[in-house]
Symmetry: D2
Subunit: 377 residues, 4 copies
Amino acid sequence: MKALVYNGPCDVVVKTMPDAKIERPTDVLVKITATNICGSDLHMYEGRTNMESGRILGHENLGEVIEIGKAVDRVKVGDMVCLPFNIGCGFCENCERSLSGYCLTANPGAAGAAYGFAGMGPYSGGQAEFLRVPYADYNCLVLPPDAKEKENDYVMLSDIFPTGYHATELAGVKPGDTVVIYGAGPVGLMAAYSAVIKGASQVMVVDMHKDRLKLAEKLGAIGIDDSEGGAVGKIMELTDGQGADRGCECVGYQCCGKHGHEVPNLTMNNLVETVKATGTIGVVGVFIPEDPGAKDALAKKGQLAFDFGKFWFKGQKIGTGQANVKAYNRKLANLIHADKAKPSLIVSHELPLEQAPEAYRHFDKRDDGWTKVVLKP
Amino acid sequence: MKALVYNGPCDVVVKTMPDAKIERPTDVLVKITATNICGSDLHMYEGRTNMESGRILGHENLGEVIEIGKAVDRVKVGDMVCLPFNIGCGFCENCERSLSGYCLTANPGAAGAAYGFAGMGPYSGGQAEFLRVPYADYNCLVLPPDAKEKENDYVMLSDIFPTGYHATELAGVKPGDTVVIYGAGPVGLMAAYSAVIKGASQVMVVDMHKDRLKLAEKLGAIGIDDSEGGAVGKIMELTDGQGADRGCECVGYQCCGKHGHEVPNLTMNNLVETVKATGTIGVVGVFIPEDPGAKDALAKKGQLAFDFGKFWFKGQKIGTGQANVKAYNRKLANLIHADKAKPSLIVSHELPLEQAPEAYRHFDKRDDGWTKVVLKP
Amino acid sequence: MKALVYNGPCDVVVKTMPDAKIERPTDVLVKITATNICGSDLHMYEGRTNMESGRILGHENLGEVIEIGKAVDRVKVGDMVCLPFNIGCGFCENCERSLSGYCLTANPGAAGAAYGFAGMGPYSGGQAEFLRVPYADYNCLVLPPDAKEKENDYVMLSDIFPTGYHATELAGVKPGDTVVIYGAGPVGLMAAYSAVIKGASQVMVVDMHKDRLKLAEKLGAIGIDDSEGGAVGKIMELTDGQGADRGCECVGYQCCGKHGHEVPNLTMNNLVETVKATGTIGVVGVFIPEDPGAKDALAKKGQLAFDFGKFWFKGQKIGTGQANVKAYNRKLANLIHADKAKPSLIVSHELPLEQAPEAYRHFDKRDDGWTKVVLKP
Amino acid sequence: MKALVYNGPCDVVVKTMPDAKIERPTDVLVKITATNICGSDLHMYEGRTNMESGRILGHENLGEVIEIGKAVDRVKVGDMVCLPFNIGCGFCENCERSLSGYCLTANPGAAGAAYGFAGMGPYSGGQAEFLRVPYADYNCLVLPPDAKEKENDYVMLSDIFPTGYHATELAGVKPGDTVVIYGAGPVGLMAAYSAVIKGASQVMVVDMHKDRLKLAEKLGAIGIDDSEGGAVGKIMELTDGQGADRGCECVGYQCCGKHGHEVPNLTMNNLVETVKATGTIGVVGVFIPEDPGAKDALAKKGQLAFDFGKFWFKGQKIGTGQANVKAYNRKLANLIHADKAKPSLIVSHELPLEQAPEAYRHFDKRDDGWTKVVLKP
């Protein structure tokens, strides 16, 4: 089958790989019809992880079931399914508490598995023609009859929409709240969209890219351009000097200051500053335990110079980590099905698999207008 | 009246001060019969805060109401009352959500007020014969008839017992959980006691003082002596390599490494290490936004070199801040009244007010056996 | 002052009454500028309660503070304020947990007080020129500068909007949920509106009045006309035979069957039937402990022939009771202020106080188009 | 194999039945070493359900895995396992939210499956030598090495201990709460024990059997004998006229009044009366949608004459339904393992399978001292 393979830093290529196939009785095989490029693919693309060369990337996948294992009970051949990027077993201590992002079975010795991801187990990605899905009865979200017609919406349920939503859950966003979100990449945009859906009274999104801020405004948020600084002051002004009720980090360890160099503690310390006392902060931007490629001495060790004193004094809370997609994807699917949510609003490009390498290049440079790419193998 | 007054670093003195009196119609006046020295008094005592000379210390107070203001409705002369260390108004946005530790009224321009405390408003402390209590209908916990007999238990409801309990609430301790607590000072001991009351299956307490670890074991916990290091390994061993379900920080910014020098990020990074993935950490040890007296460059700015990457990767949560005493003191009073809790177990000394300066000296040095001092003015 | 006075069953009159005035140092005096007629006023109007003749009705009040008591701290003369219908003290066991609808102080011997309400204490109502507001620092919601301009929106914060919202809170409505609401009176409409604001995927409203169902659809819900029966079947069909995730009762003990006679258990048993297994039901329609005027033998004793077996078998939950307005009014005010909610959409009539008797007559008969009346004294 | 078979009302017999065996690749086969008789077995035994003759009873099972299906991943031959009475699939909408008692897969067309239970699917019970366990990776709780030694404790995790605990979860019991429990049968006793473990300040248990009340007191509760009436008054007195914070129903639809005749609404209406305003009630006693054998006309239809008016006026909440055992059994196992809980305290008889018929007879009559029977096949 054709697949997008990681060759080394800033080098991906589409080539022929062995066909994905059923390996265990609880697997199904899916013919991929839509698969996104994710911001976290870029960490691997840039060589900022320990990703092995030769592996297939792609963890935001949707397609049609074409074969099922002997022990599969619920999923049928012909079902259109969206696959959560995290692979859970459904029966470990974490999965049974709906913490499928921290499965203790699928990636032995660690908590959490994913398709085509550094450090998340041996699973191939879905930027390919076919994908093997383990523990399929647990992992497949079977889609309603409008699956084809709204494919670009439903594929967002694999990661980006639940991840943005997770940010607002970790932050505890409730109707009437004011919310500040750092980052207007696809995750930040989906966090803003989720906050709007939840009935926030004011959603502020901070970024330096004008095209992305425009999208944020289209989704119902207030865009705050920090390219010349001043975002902190602007947020305090918009919240009568109190700070926002809730904050979301949607950037991660490679966040950048004014002139584009990395300032790892920037977004977190700004969140502590611009969220009010007793407020809550949700962090879905990726931070990693070691980052040997970082310039900053603390960052190499996975540490931040964090304003812990101010954080404590304000009595704030932080929740972190990757989204447990299964905890949210059914209800978000309801919203898409009922035409109450349209996450495909952020899609900028729909491309064949062959053009994936070019898409990686543009997306990695944050080229103007390259917000979100859906590949159609 | 006689009162304990702060004169400057490591210098407190008992002297005659103007009598406390009713100043506003919502005040009451309390004759203090029991008032504790708190670990956070030591931050001020050591000159590690901006406490003004000449102020009366003491925020853990209990006594008898001897006069009430004209608008006081519920509290009566003769009532025995325990006063939460935090002073709330009862009607601001935070008090009405039970966040009385972050009152927006009692200390204008900040969130949170307290008796005799640096940066927490102009209120005098209760290490004195009399105390003025503002917003008395809201702040007084009226005690049951056994108040005199169990005075040393009920006085713990002013701060230390609810603060320890708050640590376990922020950490989300539930029946059957494993819990690790850093610090076996009075707060850590009360956190351990709270975890035991809540039905934790295993409560581990880390400290370097053998007398305090012994007390922890008396309260139902497992003491872990870190004076020669090794606590992290021991906790991992006791939890089958997983780490504890929940963790509590009960030490604060002056936490110390093996040879007694301050290592500000020690307890927080050990918590991230020894709490399991998806676990929750409650921080009630005091951290401050600026600490000009610190040796460490980050600490001066109130920053920690925090293992944020590991924290995020493990999908942990942190809750912080001072206890909202009123959120807990009624139910904890029930437990004392029903003989199901006896927090006075940690009291090591009961002394007259006159001996307060000596008590400060011993307690500040963590002299053997000086766990908790109750003053009886 | 002029006021609307209850004279006996179906008899209310506007007459001159002694001026409201400050009685205690914690009171303020409010000049009423908007005050609604509520569906629960009709229980009193119809003589179905033990309301005393000669009392002033009106518990949905908004106006300007014209005098403050000596102990009032926060509220100022000139403030525009909206008053929660329930009167809380701010310091009892229930108020301090945000359960201001069950205040133990304001109506001694009972849990809960209100203005101009049978069995809810001696307080006069606000369908009058002036209103005395007890515990004013706690009870007044001070409005933002757009208070005048959006008066008909903000006055809904006194009861109807928070009460509808409370129904959805008791029912646990979350984004993506399907919700069924029985009753399209003002409360049911506000429950539907709240569910829409919270991001429900499908909101179904059952009633027999076409004008009200039309309003429900305008607010984003699906109207289900039960005037010829069939609502249960329709809901099951719309939810693929599963029933709704959540249900709300917004009718109360005088609910009626097909030909207009009272069938007290109708809405509750239909809710059990049309809410799915494991679902939750919120009940804000009023049910009363005794109803001597009822025809039904059980109803006289305040009992329902309730489908408890089915309820248990489905593992459902029920939450009940009047709204704790203060728990919601700040955040809902934010939504009005930010133009994200416009509850005045349901206002059908804006009338001077003099026309109140006529308005009661029409509203009581559910005359076509009489959805919600705002009086302007 | 030998098994206890239901022959019709009040007639059970031990006889030879076809061996249980693996039927699907996700099954395991367990050799039963301990299996309890449950109070809900008695509903079937008495012929008060539609149980089919010829079926094997027994849903409280523990034993050793002797064979595993081809798709079983986690469970190994030789594992000692305790089986939740409810059978879940692990991947349906309810199981994935930890609501394994309402599985939509295992008993198609209904919500919830169980071993050897009327209306809960075709599964054979475990009062037998062997048991087939479906979806075994999801359903088996693998026990620690002390499983044999504490077999009578761990077997309680199959139902009775989690069910009692569930009552306290539905009721929202928190440290310091006062709790009233109706019923001192095994479930009521386990609810009382759970409330004690959770740190309740006062646990009151109402029953008419002196031997069971004695056991309740042994577990840390206050026994209230209602055999001559007066329980309601006693509870109000013990709670200063307020009623308890929380209440638990552990009796069910066959509850009886003073002279032993069934009064189906007795415990629920007494709970409404003796739980305070704003309090919460958990109902784990079984109520059924239809009870043709009942004398009471409402009961035949599964209805109660419920004090709904008082319930609403007090603003109470009710949670109902069977326990989702998997939501609790890991943490409760921790408590047994750490010697912090010993639920076998309620075991009165340990008998071979052969004596099961005799045990049913005594247990059904509530013969003195027959609290809980463990069978050892």
